[in-house]
């Protein structure tokens, strides 16, 4: 079912060769391994900056034997190789792979192969899929498998600092959201406790004022809590799953409730202060507050406890 990988790989070589590769075969009298030769060079980016940690593979054209090394901090690499003709492949995260089809290693001179890599994003197009990129295709390498052998492209392994910063900001804001939510529970519970003395027949103005102040503090903390959740960065392509769905759905109950409760409370407060019995829509203050408080408590529990 799968074609011969090595023949396909060779057919795909022109696709991998990057236009900007500079090949310089410079004679050198550097030290060489006895009975063999040496191949060395430097890998640079389009701005002539050195590329460290690039993977350089030298494959013997005659025998197919491959050796791999990594460029150092100065972008340089070196192989001590048996004499012969070698194909040199250079790979680095964020750059297109470069292939030098022929470099002759002989006993008298060190072959120097420098390569200038072209940026992966330069044309905005992803690298064309090759037979090698198929996860079940046999590896062309005779040594350890590479990520490319698994069908994982350099683009997939490249980090995204902006995305990480976005996630960091999101986590920070949601941590503040969580802390403020827990702090809000304190005055909210106290508001409920003081409501018993605020709404009865024999209540004092002081009891009502204490209830009002606690309610106002709860409301302020609540909206600060909500702010950090609403303003936390959204991560695109994320489907909401799990308990967070209930947590978010409950916001549609306690959110409007937190707006409505103080409005109804203010009406009730004025009616009581005028010596009237709480009447009309103000009568809904208590039930709305209970539903709101319950929804808020459930929202906290939904992400804190496993049901």
């Amino acid at each position: 079912m799968l074609k011969n990988p090595s023949s396909n790989w060779r057919n795909d070589v022109p696709c991998l060769v990057v236009v900007c590769v500079l090949i310089t075969l410079v004679p050198s009298v550097a030290a060489q391994a006895p009975g063999g030769g040496a191949l060395m060079g430097k890998i640079t980016d389009p701005f002539d900056a050195v590329v460290a940690n690039a993977t350089v593979t030298a494959t013997s054209v005659e025998t197919g034997q491959a050796q791999t090394t990594i460029t150092g901090k100065d972008g340089a690499y070196r192989f001590d190789l048996p004499l012969g003709n070698y194909r040199v492949k250079v790979e680095a995260a964020g750059f297109k792979a470069a292939e030098i089809p022929s470099a002759m290693v002989n006993a008298t001179q060190t072959a120097v192969v420098n390569a200038k890599l072209e940026s992966e994003q330069s044309d905005g197009k992803p690298a064309p899929p090759t037979q090698e990129n198929l996860p079940n295709a046999p590896s062309s390498s005779k040594t350890a498998p590479t990520l490319e052998d698994l069908g994982i492209t350099p683009a997939q392994t490249q980090g995204n600092a902006q995305e990480q910063a976005r996630l960091d900001k999101r986590t920070h804001m949601l941590k503040v959201h969580q802390r403020l939510g827990l702090i809000t529970l304190g005055p909210l519970i106290a508001t409920f406790i003081t409501s018993a003395n605020a709404g009865g027949k024999n209540t004092s103005n002081t009891d009502r004022t204490v209830h009002l102040v606690l309610g106002a503090v709860s409301g302020d903390l609540y909206f600060m809590t909500a702010y950090y959740a609403i303003r936390a960065p959204r991560i695109s392509g994320t489907e909401t799953r799990g308990p967070i769905r209930l947590h978010k759905a409950l916001a549609w109950i306690h959110g409007p409730g937190m707006i409505l409760t103080p409005i109804l409370g203010a009406l009730a407060y004025n009616q009581k202060n005028n010596g009237e019995k709480v009447h009309g829509i103000a009568q809904a203050h208590g039930p709305v507050a209970i539903v709101t408080g319950a929804a808020f408590g459930l929202a906290v529990a939904s992400v804190s406890l496993k049901f």
Partner: protein
């Protein structure tokens, strides 16, 4: 005549001994991390790992890679926090490399030295035990990697101001087949 046949046989048989290296391909894989919190026990599962083994001179080099964001704990909020805390956007892949003798495929247990790259760190785990079961041409490998958050310099995530435990064992269940 016999001598010629013998020479021909030896010449034909030679490529079989020095011939093409065998390879292993990861067919199925389930990776499960376990995180403990005083209020929660959470697990994240990924079935998205890819792997390959290349054997040469009796030694097999294996590489398994999986995207950090492929782990699913059933809670998208937790998954996003895990990606953030493990710096998964900056270091999107987890890779595991190991080298095993080719003969170990017939054993029932194997102890592997693992090199794991995760969260921008490279950590080696020595002699991690895995069980091997062979059925037909499939070899099932299962075991647990005793990973910890501190190994990878990950700050323990907190919930209600309580951090999760440092231990984060990763259960591995893989099915390989030779190619």
């Amino acid at each position: 005549m016999r001598k010629k046949i013998l020479i021909a046989f030896v010449l034909l048989a030679l490529p079989a001994f020095g011939g093409p290296d065998s390879q292993w391909v990861l067919e199925q894989c389930t990776l499960t991390y376990h995180v403990s919190h005083p209020l929660h026990q959470s697990e994240g599962v990924s079935h998205a790992a890819r792997g390959k083994g290349i054997c040469h001179d009796g030694q097999c080099d294996f590489l398994i890679a999986v995207a950090v964001k492929s782990f699913d704990s059933g809670d998208s909020n937790r998954d996003l926090h895990m990606i953030q805390v493990t710096r998964g956007a900056q270091f999107p892949m987890v890779t595991v490399r190991t080298r095993l003798p080719e003969s170990s495929s017939t054993s029932t247990t194997v102890h592997a030295d693992l090199e794991i790259q995760f969260a921008g760190q490279t950590v080696q785990y020595k002699q991690v035990a895995f069980e091997l079961t062979t059925q037909g041409n499939q070899t099932r490998i299962s075991g647990t990697i005793p990973a910890t958050l501190s190994d990878f310099k990950i700050d323990p995530p907190t919930l209600l101001a309580m951090p999760v435990k440092n231990e984060m064992p990763v259960r591995v269940d893989m099915t390989w087949h030779p190619q």
